[in-house]
Symmetry: C2
Subunit: 185 residues, 2 copies
DNA sequence: CGTCTAATGCAACTGCAAGTTGCATTGAGG
DNA sequence: CCTCAATGCAACTTGCAGTTGCATTAGACG
């Protein structure tokens, strides 16, 4: 809730995009109110519209900026340990207001739809590193497609959270980890 | 696109709800335009609002009506055959405009959120029948929770379709079937 | 067949939020 | 210190949800 000023340049963009994320977080939807963003960013509505002609552009830019935040890949020393960390993080994400809103972005905009596959592939490949490390440690054999294994591990968590609408227990998480580990034999 | 008339009673509801589904199907979103529904249903906007005070009520009613359509459970004679049918049906659903719109209903309305778990449990239990039959035929041992196995089988399909945004190949479907079959040993 | 009433049609309304516009201010670089 | 582009500001237009008062009409009932 910054005060209106006449600041310019990149700082303004940053404030605006951060405000967008905040509003998404607090409203739980991508159908945010631009006036609210302006208020939070301490910027006039007109300024927002000058930079992002349509609200969707604004939301898209904010999501893309958010997507660039690097998710840390755990390195606990054991495969199971790392996988557990991942799975717990995923649960936290799909349980959060922001996470749920972003995941509901399905078919939100054509641009986003085009970027989606690459985004997830990046995520999966990054997470697959824990499998690579396990292989190096001699914990297991090298699988054909580590990224796919990660995808198959997190899919049930996403599905249960976003569709079935049930709280996700530790046991459920453990099942997903076990299945991945089992697939490596 | 029926003509405006003064018909009354249950027929009107049916027309309206059918129109809602059509509009969702053609627009690919649950944020339908009530005027469009009125037009399609051959009914005045006022009539709709008299029966469904808020648009969300209208959409919810239409979804619930739609959800009551019984999905046929295949019975081809073999476990793999039945699972394959299921998995192909799921792919078709998540690929359709209507299916995608309905699946994006995540956190759309509190009422819907409450009904969601029961809905899916029903679906899973119904589909689990193919496993029961396989057990009866002696194809495999009885699993602990057949419904869960079905859930785990379809989850990656939903996840890939709605989130990752990649077309789903026959091979991917086959992997899911294989995993379920493997779990039964 | 006539009558009465509740459901429907209709048109004009309010309210809210997206997006626009013309003009006044102001910050930063020369 | 001057200039000009970026910002602020207020008053618009537009689209759609939802409302309202009144005219019409289906259909039940005698």
């Amino acid at each position: 809730m910054n005060e209106p000023s006449h600041r310019r340049g990149k700082v303004v963009d940053d404030n605006i995009l951060r405000a967008v994320i905040s509003v998404i977080e607090e409203s739980g939807t991508l159908l945010i109110k631009v006036d609210r963003v302006a208020e939070l960013a301490g910027v006039n509505k007109t300024t927002i519209y000058r930079r992002f002609p349509k609200r969707d552009d604004l939301v898209l830019a904010a999501i893309l900026a958010q997507a660039e935040t690097v998710v840390p890949i755990p390195d606990v020393g054991s495969l199971r340990g790392d996988l557990w960390e991942i799975v717990v993080m995923v649960r936290a994400t799909v349980a959060s207001n922001l996470g749920r809103a972003l995941l509901s972005a399905s078919a939100a905009s054509p641009e986003l739809d085009e970027l989606r596959p690459a985004y997830w592939q990046t995520r999966f490949d990054a997470a697959a590193k824990v499998i690579d490390r396990a292989v190096e440690r001699g914990e297991c054999a090298a699988p054909q497609d580590p990224g796919l294994l990660i995808e198959l591990m997190v899919a049930p968590i996403h599905f249960r959270a976003t569709q079935v609408g049930v709280d996700i227990s530790d046991e459920f998480l453990a099942v997903q980890v076990d299945r991945l580990v089992a697939a490596l034999r």
